[in-house]
């Protein structure tokens, strides 16, 4: 195989790694939007909080002398999922529930306020400096010839793929098989009707926020370990990108969010790999705008019918 093939493969792998974490965050946007039709602008900050909790837990576990990698990852995942779930729940309870049913702009503005609030809360509590953590997972696989260009796939990237895949599978099982999942889907179809049929829609909406937040925490743990650096400002851009991914795939659709995330990640990797890293973000937003122009409901989304 020639060099260009491995180069392409490398960029593809890089893109898919980032893309799968975008997908994890995007699911939070898409589920909330599917049920109550609002953009949870503060979702990116939940991801950032997940990263911080992961760092704290990893550092604490390391202090206790635990060195087994699976234990570290599972510990970080569990604790940060619990904490971010609490954040997801509280954000919904405090900032969105009182506003439900009014003008659509009002919850969105409240969400922007929430996002600014959380970002600054973490900045005050943890400082605005970058916090760095040493590499926990070292090494990787080389694909390709020993001489010339070869693609590398680090073990951390493999972990990201595997954990993402597991989370997605669990989510799909939950949504399609469980009673609660069915209630979630019913809410997405018709909130009022579901309520009339005796389902506690408030609890279901809260559950959606909790699930979204927990998945954002997974992304936070994985990306925190992958990059090894966090600061209070990482949530904004990540949230924006994930939202773009959700819209790209068709907001409201879970498979759409995954597809959108992967596509966006690959598009970014290809831009910086073949053109210029300077224009990575421009390409990401341009893709979003183009998709919205030609397919306003996204790739897998259903066209929305305006109800009177």
């Amino acid at each position: 195989m020639p060099d260009w093939f491995y180069y392409l493969l490398q960029q593809l792998l890089n893109g898919l790694t980032v893309g799968s974490t975008y997908a994890l965050i995007a699911i939070g946007y898409t589920m909330v939007y599917g049920i109550i039709g609002m953009i949870n602008f503060a979702h990116g900050e939940v991801y950032m909080i997940g990263s911080y909790i992961a760092f704290i837990v990893l550092a604490a576990l390391a202090l206790m002398g635990i060195e087994s990698l699976p234990l570290l990852i599972i510990g970080a995942l569990l604790v940060s999922m619990v904490v971010t779930s609490a954040y997801g729940y509280s954000i919904e309870r405090v900032a969105y529930r009182p506003l439900r049913g009014g003008n659509r702009l009002i919850p969105l503005i409240s969400a922007i306020g929430m996002s600014i609030f959380l970002q600054n809360l973490v900045r005050l509590a943890q400082g605005s400096r970058d916090i760095a953590m040493p590499n926990l997972v070292r090494g990787g696989l080389d694909i390709g010839p020993a001489t010339g260009f070869h693609a590398t796939l680090s073990y951390m990237q493999i972990i990201i793929f595997v954990v993402t895949l597991i989370s997605m599978t669990l989510l799909t099982l939950f949504i399609t098989r469980s009673r609660m999942g069915r209630a979630c889907r019913a809410c997405a179809e018709d909130l009022k009707m579901t309520n009339l049929l005796g389902i506690n829609t408030n609890a279901i909406i809260a559950l959606t926020f909790v699930i979204g937040a927990a998945l954002a925490a997974v992304a936070g743990v994985l990306l925190g370990m992958y990059y090894g650096v966090i600061n209070p400002y990482i949530g904004f851009m990540a949230g924006l990108k994930a939202f773009t991914a959700a819209v790209l795939g068709g907001i409201g659709s879970i498979p759409g969010a995954v597809l959108g995330g992967l596509l966006l990640g690959v598009a970014e990797a290809m831009t910086s790999g073949y053109f210029s890293a300077e224009y990575k973000d421009v390409v990401a937003f341009s893709v979003l705008i183009l998709v919205l122009l030609f397919r306003p409901s996204g790739i897998l989304g259903r066209p929305e019918v305006e109800k009177v």
Partner: protein, 375 residues
């Protein structure tokens, strides 16, 4: 209703005129120096360095009897490194009748402020803004006690050409004033020496994922890379480069010479090259100052501490030499004399820049320490 409004208005006016009057009650004997920099905002930690150095200088000079019988008095103004607040600060300084400024910190807030200072006859010495544009406009009252971006580039470029001798070099920057300026200067130096620069690209400051860029570096077969920017990005680039098996040496400007880069990049930081101003706090001649800083639990190591000290000192010495606190005369004195400061013997050229300010090339280590490679 009329009455209410008139009353409210008159009260409002009374308050504002009072506020105006209070600023007029200055002590006649003091020479005020405005210290303009970020007290708040994202770069406040650099502002701290500036205020630490400047306040120490003011205290030392006052302890030694002041200037021409008058005491110096520092007044802090916060511009948060925001260009629009910097203009407001400049107007406040004019308003308070202060004729000497030490600051500002960021080039982008220094530039609009200088327009006002030059116009109003206020002398400004910046200890930190390194953009060449600041002194390029023929202003008479603008000086600086730090080296320019355009100086650091050639130092790095020369070192690469003469000592490293690579075949192909990648030059990357963070698309900000500081980073891009230096990166452009380095590229110019390299291409003039006949070294190929196949990649010249910008990244987004604050980004975390550079894997695609690194794959491109690997593919292009460069054997050296220069990064113009700050430590968070270079730290991540080094870390991810090591991860992907790219083991070429990297070099950066003073913005990356921070112990945090070792925390971010870990072992990948070993062997990185960096151009820094001489470490003034390690100069034995400054031992008494370092002691004084330590006594107050202040950190003398920041890159702007001693240049700020020097900025206050040249203003004080300038006033002394001119025998007057008229900024125009002080500016003349600054241009025609040499000043002995903790950052060395300083002399200013026509533009207001230092005549020679040397950058030293250091090799960085994984534990955050460094060793000098050049004199």
């Amino acid at each position: 209703m009329k009455k209410i409004h008139r009353k409210a208005l008159s009260q409002f006016l009374a308050i504002t005129t009072l506020a105006g009057a209070s600023s007029l009650t200055l002590a006649a004997d003091n020479i005020k120096i405005a210290l303009a920099g970020p007290v708040t905002g994202p770069v406040a930690q650099y502002g701290d360095m500036q205020f630490t150095g400047a306040n120490m200088a003011i205290e030392m000079i006052n302890k030694a009897g002041g200037v021409n019988g008058a005491q110096l008095q520092g007044v802090v103004f916060d511009d948060a490194c925001d260009p629009k607040q910097a203009v407001a600060v400049a107007n406040r300084i004019v308003n308070e009748g202060i004729s000497f400024v030490v600051g500002h910190l960021c080039s982008s807030s220094t530039q609009p402020a200088t327009d006002i200072y030059e116009d109003e006859g206020i002398l400004m010495v910046t200890p930190a803004a390194t953009s060449p544009d600041i002194t390029n406009r023929g202003y008479e009252l603008v000086f600086r006690t730090i080296g320019l971006d355009s100086l650091q580039g050639p130092t790095a470029g020369k070192y690469i050409v003469e000592q490293v001798k690579p075949n192909k070099v990648a030059v990357i920057h963070d698309k900000q004033q500081y980073g891009e300026g230096i990166a452009t200067a380095v590229r110019k130096e390299l291409t003039e020496a006949g070294i190929e620069v196949p990649i010249f690209d910008g990244i987004t400051a604050g980004d975390k994922n550079f894997s695609s860029l690194i794959a491109r570096l690997r593919q292009s077969g460069v054997d050296f890379a220069y990064f113009g920017g700050y430590h968070p990005e270079l730290g991540l680039i080094l870390r991810q480069a090591r991860e992907q098996g790219l083991n070429i040496p990297f070099m950066g400007p003073e913005g990356v010479g921070n112990s945090d880069i070792s925390a971010i990049a870990g072992e990948a930081a070993e062997g990185m090259l960096v151009t820094l101003p001489k470490a003034f706090d390690e100069d034995p001649a400054n031992a008494h100052l370092v002691e004084a800083f330590k006594e107050r639990k202040q950190d003398p190591r920041g890159p702007f501490v001693f240049p700020s000290y020097a900025a206050v000192q040249v203003i004080a010495d300038g006033i002394r030499l001119a025998g007057s606190d008229d900024p125009t005369k002080v500016a003349e004195a600054l241009r025609s004399n040499t000043f002995d400061t903790p950052t060395g013997k300083l002399a200013f050229d026509e533009k207001g820049d230092l005549k020679d300010f040397n950058f030293v090339v250091y090799e960085w280590h994984a534990d955050g320490s460094k060793t000098a490679l050049t004199e």
